[in-house]
Symmetry: C2
Subunit: 342 residues, 2 copies
């Protein structure tokens, strides 16, 4: 098995846009999102409608940033955590974009970038937009308990990010010098975790598997990248990943590795337990922070490993465990004529 | 907007395998499926586990037909109707294949073939397997009412196919002369239908939109193909599609058009109302019938348009309508040195 995908043309990231809720605006990236709504409702009546509206807002903000309209894009790739992935399918309803629905739980952001790359490899003169979202309130009532129950959360629990992010991809350079070079699609790993409040432990082995497979395939080491970001393992999962990688001979440190779930909130001041999670976690951290650092030249070659717990409340009630998957995307900034590290 | 994808190498269909339940085995294609279980449980305790087991059985049957093992495949592309698409993620758990989760409701089969094509366009020496499934009992209790209620079904209602099918794709010819030439990914159409028992009406406009877009893009007509198959519009939706197409100047007749939902059951003898539906409908009809006809040379150039109602029971309860999408795949049989019709 080999999930490596090298794009034969560079897949350029033209721009990104992000939308976030109250907890996120009060977190460490507060003020860096393009749109923040402390009501978490985004003008809608239900949490589910609010999540779909966030995707629409992220997409519209992206169009506005690019100074363009729907017609500039041929393809939309979207996925989210809600049953039937409705955030995307309702936000793109009746819009003139071909729609590719994907499902990868919290690995969706990375999977979307990879699928966008595949499409633009076939359609080099086209643009695609990838979107994802999650909402704390729609996720809690779907996956765990309705918020009104006021359930006590365990220390390993993660806080689903209320947010959405959109990324504009192009098969041509246009005005961007940041591109997706290659990707690695992961396999499904299930080590027997059955606690929906400890997703970090379920996902860490999948992240390790994908990361190690990618290093072996490309003959690289963690030190070959400016930073490695996992999607949302949280503090618990990130510690487990660091341990697994160390046992395999790969050293992850604070200097070369961080987890988007540990970045987005201020865990000392906010009651988010193990950190952030949800499809929007890595998507919003990329849009609000990582992409800006790359533009500024602070980061030139990074790996993002989206990690997804493919858990089903129904299957957990039927006694099953939580399978997980991790997809990796390698994003690079061109350095003038000569490109280093790639 | 243009969702056309032409594969630069031919994406060969090596073989297919199908699994089906009681109603399907008693239908018009009974005996043509590779595995039939009239208990609909496939050795499992719950309908959901049964659906996941069907995907595993279809995949294992495919491996057996090809005389190969997991190692022959690098990628699995799967999607289904169950929340969190669990049929695929549990059946591929801990297997050594990179896993791409997709969501397109009943358009999943066609979307999976298209995504498989994208991957093998980048990885020409690899193989991918695409899978999908649906189960009448898991679908009814998730989307409509638990079977135990004994609800009366309306004449426009469709019967979700209990089945699964797997398709082996390769970037190389190997021993196959049947390949995917091109595809068209559709946009999301919502004409305001809000009746979960009339999905044909919701999906027909999406099918028309994709089909007409494809004809215009390729400069072809229905008569350029041996057959056009829609995924599962049922009798109701197929009649609506035929009307829409006629108004646009494209004539669909019994000789050049059929719907997989009208093929799989015997509507005169079986109480399936408007016909079959579910992700497995087009997948099983392709595996059990269409692919066999292509192998035998009866069909040499066909279009399959997977149609998906991206409906959410929760959003319907919140007063929303049913968005739909249709994805098209063009499958061709090589005719010796000279290939006609392509």
């Amino acid at each position: 098995m080999n999930g490596y995908l090298e794009f034969s043309n560079k897949i350029y990231i033209l721009d990104t846009a992000s939308v976030a809720g109250k907890m996120e605006s009060e977190g460490r990236l507060g003020g860096l999102f393009d749109f923040e709504d402390i009501s978490n409702l985004f003008g809608m009546k239900t949490w589910e409608e609010a999540e779909s509206e966030m995707q629409r807002l992220a997409y519209n903000t992206l169009l506005s940033k690019l100074g363009t309209s729907h017609e500039a894009f041929d393809f939309a790739i979207s996925g989210d955590l809600m049953n039937q992935c409705v955030a995307g399918s309702y936000s793109f309803s009746n819009l003139p974009l071909s729609y590719v629905g994907i499902y990868g739980a919290c690995s969706t952001f990375a999977l979307g970038l990879a699928v966008g790359g595949m499409i633009l490899n076939l359609r080099r003169n086209s643009r695609a937009v990838t979107l994802t979202s999650s909402h704390y309130c729609s996720a809690e009532r779907q996956f765990r308990t309705p918020l009104e129950y006021g359930s006590q959360r365990t220390p390993t629990a993660q806080w689903t990010v209320t947010g959405a992010a959109a990324v504009a991809l192009s098969g041509r350079r246009e005005n961007s010098d940041i591109f997706i070079k290659d990707a690695y699609l992961g396999r499904i790993t299930d080590k027997g975790i059955d606690d929906p409040n400890n997703m970090g432990a379920a996902m860490a082995p999948a992240a390790a598997d994908t990361l190690i497979s990618y290093f072996k395939e490309t003959g690289t080491q963690p030190s070959d990248y400016d930073m490695i970001y996992t999607g949302d393992l949280g503090a618990e999962g990130a510690a487990i990943l660091t341990d697994i990688m160390k046992n395999e001979g790969y050293i992850l440190t604070k200097e070369n590795y961080n987890d988007c779930g540990c970045i987005i909130y201020d865990r000392e001041k906010q009651d988010v337990h193990s950190g952030g999670s949800g499809c929007a976690c890595s998507a919003c951290v990329f849009s609000a922070m990582i992409h800006k650092h790359m533009r500024a030249g602070k980061l030139k070659s990074i790996l993002i490993i989206g990690t997804g717990a493919l858990m089903s409340p129904q299957f957990l009630m039927q006694g099953k465990t939580i399978p997980s998957v991790a997809h990796l995307v390698h994003i690079v900034k061109e350095e003038g004529e000569e490109e280093k590290r790639i």
